[in-house]
């Protein structure tokens, strides 16, 4: 299997990371060698193996849905790169 530039472009779009030509080529090289290493798993027959989906074999506990953090709105907004005091601001979405 080989990951080509077209695939890199596709993944970078899914991952929302812009990648220029030069980086795309570097990434293709890196990913190909990493996947070559990963392909080792194909040596193993796993048809009848149950996948491990949770390492902590416990059932989720229920808790009441209560507000614990109060009056931190200002501090939360302060962390945003752009705001207008009441909202997070993003580039215009609707024309």
């Amino acid at each position: 299997m080989s990951i080509d530039l077209k695939t890199i472009k596709h993944i970078s779009k899914l991952a929302r990371i812009s990648v220029d030509e030069q980086r795309a080529e570097k990434l293709a090289g890196d990913l190909n060698s990493i996947f070559e290493f990963i392909e080792k798993l194909n040596e193993l027959k796993t048809d009848n193996v149950e996948p491990l989906t949770s390492i902590a074999e416990t059932t989720l506990k229920l808790r009441s849905d209560e507000v614990k953090s109060k009056n931190i709105r200002e501090q939360i907004i302060k962390n945003s790169p752009q705001d207008n005091e009441d909202y997070f601001v993003v580039p215009k979405v609707i024309e």
């Binding site: 991952a15 812009s18 990493i34 290493f37 080792k40 996948p51 390492i55 902590a56 962390n79 993003v90």
Partner: protein, 485 residues
């Protein structure tokens, strides 16, 4: 007392309780040494002024019933600290100030500890050498231009260099044990679910665990006792009966059965590592325990499995960094363009690489071939340990396949960097506790570590084994203070 920073955590606690030292004496000593140690680049953010204030307050109204009375402690910058910048070593969180405190750090403050500062680490804990941090690489106190290991490299440097009596790190694939091994100190990765993940910047949620890094096993046990707790705020936190790990620490391991897994004898492993392992086996026998040859047949599949599971979870966890609610934002022509540029400029190369791997293995048409396959192999790896633990109480292996390497030596070859974690990753995949203790030096004079892997929730047992071995090994770390003029 001029040698305050040389004292162990246990000694400092004793001396504060006996009023031979004040919290201010201790805090001031570690701040002074930290200030002289800028060259190590161990800190991302210091909180020295406020630490001194807190120490003074403690001395005015001391509470000697606490487990860490007025003890200054620096923590990895992956733990959210309320009102104190938390970066995860990334440009994308460069200016993030949490409105909440991680449970693990909350636990240490509740026992009287005082925050010294936030320690450097690989970006989002992705790395084995502390070279991926946006804030620059960390130097090892062992030698100039030597990596301290990673991802908790700043934490390891801070303990080995005596900038903080102990620290807290996180371990997703070896990020506590490998740097502890590289710098000649002790690091414990607890059982998955033992320490709360609440407030820790997430990397791979099914693998991440916080744990103590210390000068010796007793300090490690004490800090672990404080940080391990059941926490309703983490849905994978496990409610089990926790020991008084430091009080119950004993060096009698007579009759314990220790497994030696033949699959950890990997191709190309230096003789020095094999020799160290053999010495470890002898120490075990000297302690009156027995060693038993065991097999963990799927060991060689652990690293490839890890490099599917961890990036997959990371790509999902890191989707939240979009430049909207917090962190760095790049200018974009529209919303999507802003997202893509923010993530391209905000994440470093290694993080981007792992997000790309993770996105690919989870993408339509590849999920079964990679992610599902990895989950199945993960089950086989866990089964290997379950089988082994029918015969043995714990397992002894080397911590790393080599000693620390030079800065820049492996940055261009991701696979050779990943191979550093070959002995530590299996415990994360199986959710088991593992401890690395310093056990000798290689021909270059660099420290080498041995790892003890235990059964789930059996931290007391591996701490006891480590404690007994520590006494026999009698390791002395060679710290020359090369970075202090």
């Amino acid at each position: 007392m001029s040698d305050i920073t040389k004292q162990s955590l246990t000694e400092l606690v004793e001396n504060i309780k006996n009023k031979k030292l004040s919290s201010r004496d201790v805090t001031k000593a570690f701040i002074d040494r930290s200030e002289k140690s800028e060259k190590l680049n161990a800190y991302i953010t210091n909180d020295f002024t406020s630490a001194l204030d807190k120490a003074k307050k403690f001395d005015q109204k001391p509470n000697f019933d606490l487990k860490l009375p007025g003890i200054p402690i620096a923590v990895k910058d992956l733990f959210c600290t309320k009102n104190i910048k938390t970066t995860a070593g990334s440009k994308i969180l460069n200016n993030f100030v949490p409105t909440y405190e991680s449970t693990v750090t909350e636990n240490i403050w509740n026992e009287g500890a005082i925050l010294l500062g936030k320690l450097n680490c690989d970006e989002f804990a992705m790395g084995s050498s502390n070279e991926t941090s946006f804030f620059g690489n960390v130097q090892s106190p062992i030698d100039r231009n030597l990596v301290p290991g990673g991802s908790s490299g700043g934490s390891a440097s801070a303990v080995a260099g005596q900038l903080s009596p102990v620290t807290i790190g996180t371990d997703t694939g070896g990020s506590i044990r490998q740097p502890a091994s590289f710098t000649g100190i002790v690091g414990l990765k607890p059982t998955y679910g033992s320490c709360s993940r609440y407030g820790i910047v997430a990397f791979a949620s099914s693998l991440d665990q916080a744990g103590p890094i210390a000068q010796n096993v007793k300090d490690c046990a004490l800090l672990h006792e404080v940080i391990s707790s059941y926490d309703p705020k983490d849905s994978t936190s496990i409610d089990f009966k926790r020991n008084h790990y430091s009080k119950e620490l004993i060096n009698n391991i007579k009759g314990k059965k220790i497994g030696i897994p033949k699959e950890y004898r990997v191709d190309g492993m230096p003789n020095e590592i094999e020799d160290l392992w053999q010495k470890g086996i002898q120490y075990i026998k000297d302690c009156g325990a027995v060693t038993i040859d065991i097999s963990l047949p799927n060991t060689s599949y652990a690293l490839p499995t890890y490099y599917i599971v961890a990036p997959a979870e990371a790509s999902s966890n890191l989707a939240r960094y979009d430049g909207v609610k917090y962190g760095f934002r790049a200018k974009g022509e529209n919303l999507i363009d802003m997202y893509e540029k923010t993530r391209s400029e905000g994440f470093g190369a290694e993080v981007q690489r792992r997000i790309m791997i993770g996105t690919y293995v989870l993408s339509s048409g590849y999920y079964d071939a990679y992610y599902l396959k990895a989950q199945k192999v993960r089950k086989l790896i866990k089964n290997d340990f379950d089988e082994a633990y029918k015969k043995v109480d714990a397992i002894l292996t080397p911590s790393t396949p080599s000693s620390a390497f030079k800065i820049g030596e492996k940055t261009n070859d991701p696979i050779s960097m990943y191979l550093n974690d070959i002995f530590t990753v299996p415990a994360n995949l199986a959710g088991l506790p593992g401890i690395s203790i310093p056990a000798g030096h290689d021909t270059k004079g660099y420290p080498l570590g041995l790892q003890i892997i235990g059964k789930a929730f059996d931290e007391q047992n591996i701490l006891n084994i480590a404690y007994a071995m520590e006494e026999k090994i009698n390791f002395k770390n060679r710290i020359t203070d090369w970075w202090i003029k």
